[in-house]
Amino acid sequence: MKEMNNIYKVPDGYFDSLQKRLEAIPSQHTEVRDPVVAVPLWTKVRPYVALAACMLMAFFVGNFFLGRNQASAPAEFGLQDYYMADLIPVTNPYAIYDDAPMDLYTIEGSSEEDVVQYLISSGTSVDYIAYLLNQ
């Protein structure tokens, strides 16, 4: 190493005092160096198990309430029942009990009034009903 003290000076006795100050470092910075403590597997895994349990509970509770709401919904009736209900004449509801086979498109005994009532109940606009009646 080049002699740098030809270029730079230091205060008298500097390196002796420096050594003393540096040797005091261990006593000022002693940490309790704990041995490596083995962490049990359960302790590491516990937070994730708790999270999974919460998510499962939320799933089952949600499913329970959702299932209850669906159960109170009206039972689905068959497509045929829908057509039948839709075409029961207002003026002669007993027509459905006739022995003659029911034609879904024409019903005996249905009058113009029945047709108008049907159109109104199906939500057809008044203008369109007037148009049909004038056909």
Binding site: M1, K2, M4, N5, N6, I7, Y8, K9, V10, P11, F15, L18, Q19, R21, L22, E23, I25, P26, S27, H29, E31, R33
Partner: protein, 181 residues
Amino acid sequence: MTDKEILELYHSGQQQRAFNEIVKNYSERLYWHVRSLVCSHEDTDDLLQDIFVKVWTALPSFRGDAQFFTWLYRIATNVALNFLNKQKVRSALSFESLSDSLERKVDEDPWFNGNEVELELSKAIQKLPQKQKAVFCMRYYQELSYEEISEIMGTSVGALKASYHFAYEKIKKELKEKMSV
């Protein structure tokens, strides 16, 4: 006491005594190394405290895969370069470049004892980029081998040789300009 003996002493449980030996063997060497980088005696003194605190804290984790003294120099170099980085930010806030700030410190240093050529050399060195300066100072002042500097800086020997060469050329040019005025 050799480095190997110091480490054996440390691992045998006599940690304070081992640390004292490290301080005895390396405090002056590391002082000059840091001083060549940061210029100021007061800053060097502060940084040495930090360096040896880090050494004390990191000693249990030293595995011996590098030479002990290159490990120490690496800690010292990193602490000094981090300090210079902070100085760079402070200098920027005061609209002064880091190299100008360090050049001014060399001029104003009450502990500078060299002649005019050595003064200009010190100022020229302070103008180098920080890592290049560290390489140059370790090679020129500390007279470390490229292999040792490579272990300290984590850079290849070839890159270090190139770095030193460029630093040398810059300083030579700077000194020619100053001396010819």
